[in-house]
Structures are given as C-alpha cells and as structure tokens.
Amino acid sequence: MKKLLILMTLLAFTSSIFALSGEIVYAEGTVDIKTLGGTLEYGDIGMPVETGESVITGYDGYAELEMEDGSTIKVNEDSVFKLESLNDEEGKSKNSFQLILGSAKYKFARTVKDEEPMISTPSTVCGLRGTEFTVFSGLDGSALYAVEEGAVAVSARGKEVRLGAEQGVKVAAGSQPGEPYSILRGQLDYSTFRLESQAAFWEDPAGSVYALMEQLLDFARKADNYQKNFEVQKEILGELDKKLEGLDGEERKDFYREVIFPAEIKTSGMRQNVRYYALSAFSMRRFMLGNMYVQMNTSFVHKRNDPVYLDFMDAYGEFMKYFEKRIVPYLLGADIYENRNES
C-alpha cells in the first residue's frame, strides 16, 4: 500500500513537473471541460485546462486555448480535444494533444521545439516540425492534416508522410496516409471533409466499427505492454528499496537520489502510459463509437431488423467485448463520473 501511495504521489508529481497547462482565452457557444476527476464543467474564458482534461465543444461551440509556452489551440465546433502526456523510457514526460473528433487548429510557439508535443487523432500521429496547421478527425476514423506554415510528419499504419507549407494529406480509416496535395491558405473546407467522413461511415457502418476496433486493439496492446513493464519495474524498485534499507547516512541519501528516485520516476511514468493508452481508447470509444451508435439507433428506430443495423450492432457488440476485457481493467469510476456542479 505504501509503495502504491508513493507511486501515486510520484505520478501526480511527474505530471505537474512536465505537463503543459493552458487556459481558455476565448469561448463561444457550448464549451465543456471534462476534468481529471470526471467532472463536466462549463468552459469559460480564464478557465485553466490541465493535462488529462478534455475540451468538448457543442455544435455551436468554439474555444481558444493558450498554452503556457505561448502556443495556441483553436478547437472548432462539435469537437473533442484532450490534453495528455506520455512518458519515454526514462520517465520523461512528453505532452500529447489528442483530437478525438472534429477539428482543431494548432499554432506552436517557436520555443516549443525543444519539448515538441505529440499531435494525434485516434488513428494517426503527427510529428511536429512546423508551427501552424489544422487537424480534422472524422466520425469514421479518417483524418486530415493541413499545414499552413512549417512542416509536419504524419504517421499511420507504419507509413510516414511529410508535409510542407500549404500541403495537406488525408488518412482514410484504418489506412496509411495518402499522397500529399496542395491546399491554399484559407481555402480549406472542413465541411467537405466532414460530409465525406459521414458518407464513408454510412456506406459501411459495421466496417467503420471494425476499423475502430483495430485501433482499440492497438491501444490495448500498448497499455498491456506498459502494464507488464510497470510490474517488472515495481519488482526492481522493491529490490532497490531492500538495498536502501541496508544503507546509512550519506550513502543512503546518495543511493536514494541517484538510484531510487530515477527508478521511481521511471515506474510512475510507465503506469501513466498505461492510463494514457487506456484513456485514448476510452475517448475514442466514447465519442466516435458513441456517435455511431446514436446515429444508427435513431436512424433505424423503426427498422431494428434491417440487416445493416444488425450488422452494425454485431460489430458494436464485438468492439464492446474487447473494450470490456482489455481496456476497462485500466479505467476508474471517475473516468465515467465523479460529481457535477449543478443542482
């Protein structure tokens, strides 16, 4: 129990050391913040957004976040954006900006280069080498990146595509990035991408769920791997603690500072990564699969025996089976709900 407490404390400690926090500097329409504790709060100007929290905009919503390093993130309507962090092998934290659904425009400060964040949608990852670009994440799991200034490298399914200024690339659901194409500044039409993504979903609703399921399993594998590493590292830490008990005075202090503390940071980072991948799967499941489910059940409210609906529900059931088995063990009740500031 003591060890767990130490790790939990370290988890919070490492998060606060390396995490990038932001603040809402402009908001209009419906903007909610899903906090770390699971609370849903109305987002307003001046509200802080911390690592682990999500900005959720309604169909009429829009929010601008300013990060403490001067970078800005504009979250457009009907979008879900999450601020996260992921740890490397040494336990050093890297900021991660996840666009689960909808669209967001990023403008990074020049100074961010030393600590460049990871940009992602549920199915793609983008290495940041540029300063200004927009990301779209569609209902069917597709994504679109459009660069205005600088350069980015978009990766999905083991293929990386590099984009320069005024270039974009589409990544179809469950696919590698396509060929880059020219996008003139200010000429990008998100509504077309949104319609195409909706159309792709309606063309094959069950297929869209299976594409999400592949991503789910990828998240689950990564969470499992970090969990295994975490368990091993915990044992190593236990051995180191025993060794520490046999030391006294300065030798003990030095051993703690030079050996134990870095090992604790590394261990807590691994646990944090387990949660990172579990929560990535959870967000994808909540907002992408959830939207699909609502659309299918309302559209087919009078046709629940239609084969298209039944195929979708079969796929949905499969997805949920894996989700319950592979992801739920890493989730907490607070990920669902804790308290709400309302009467």
Binding site: G58, F287, V294, T298, S299, V301, E338
Partner: protein, 135 residues
C-alpha cells in the same frame, strides 16, 4: 446511492411530458432537459453534440411514440442498470450518478416501452438522465 435533500421531486406527469415533447418533435427542449453524462440505451453520452444527435436523430427518424400510459414510476434500484446495459460503464454510471430522488419511469406507447430516469431540478423542473426506447 447519493442523497441530496431539498431538491423537490419529479412527478408522474413529468414522464408523460417527455413523451409529449418527443411526439411534438421538440428536440431543443428535450436537449435542455437532458443532463450529462446521459445514458441512451447502452451508451453514455458526454457532450451536448451527442444529445443533439440523439434528440434530433429520433425526430428525423420519425420516432413518434403517440398515446402513452405510465406503467411504472418509482425510485431507481441498483439492479435497474440491467434495463439499459450490463456493461461496466453503465453499471458504474448507476453507482455514481443515481441519487435517492431520481425516478425510473416506464411508459407504454404504440412504439413499445419507453424507459427514462428523471431527476428534480431547481425545485419545479425535471432533468432527463437516461432514456431508452424499444420493446
């Protein structure tokens, strides 16, 4: 189950009011009554955009329950989560969200049974926490 005194109570008529709103295609008013996180059948909705998808979707899908009769109106019980889903998420939602003053309503309509969970809001009004249409 969390207790929260002095919030008033929901009435049987509130459940029938929800049906009237659905019959009238009043998606916007239904959205205003809905509380997040919201259970729709097996899913937990977590944004206004999702509530809009639900209520506009039912309206666009031509869902009109028609004449309705209230069959059940009672305090929510722990096992009621299975009316919606057996998943961990829905069970957890029931454990953490449901309060003593919340009521489960079962309404019989020409389109089958409707289940909803209502909560008193601000003394006189009601909030919709969960909804399920189907047989």
């Amino acid at each position: 189950m969390v207790s929260c005194a002095s919030l008033g109570s929901v009435k049987e008529g509130d459940a029938l009011d929800v049906v009237t709103l659905i019959n009238g295609g009043e998606a916007k008013i239904l959205m205003e009554h809905s509380r997040l996180p919201f259970v729709y059948r097996q899913e937990i909705l977590d944004s206004d955009a999702q509530l809009r998808l639900l209520w506009e979707g039912l309206k666009d899908g031509g869902f009109v329950p028609g004449e309705s009769v209230l069959k059940t109106f009672r305090q929510v019980r722990p096992g009621d989560s299975s009316l919606f889903s057996e998943t961990w998420e829905v069970r957890t939602w029931f454990d953490l969200v449901i309060r003593e003053e919340d009521r489960l309503a079962q309404v019989v309509t020409s389109q089958g049974n409707l289940y909803m969970i209502l909560r008193p809001v601000g003394g006189r009004d009601y909030g919709i926490l969960a909804f399920k249409e189907g047989k």
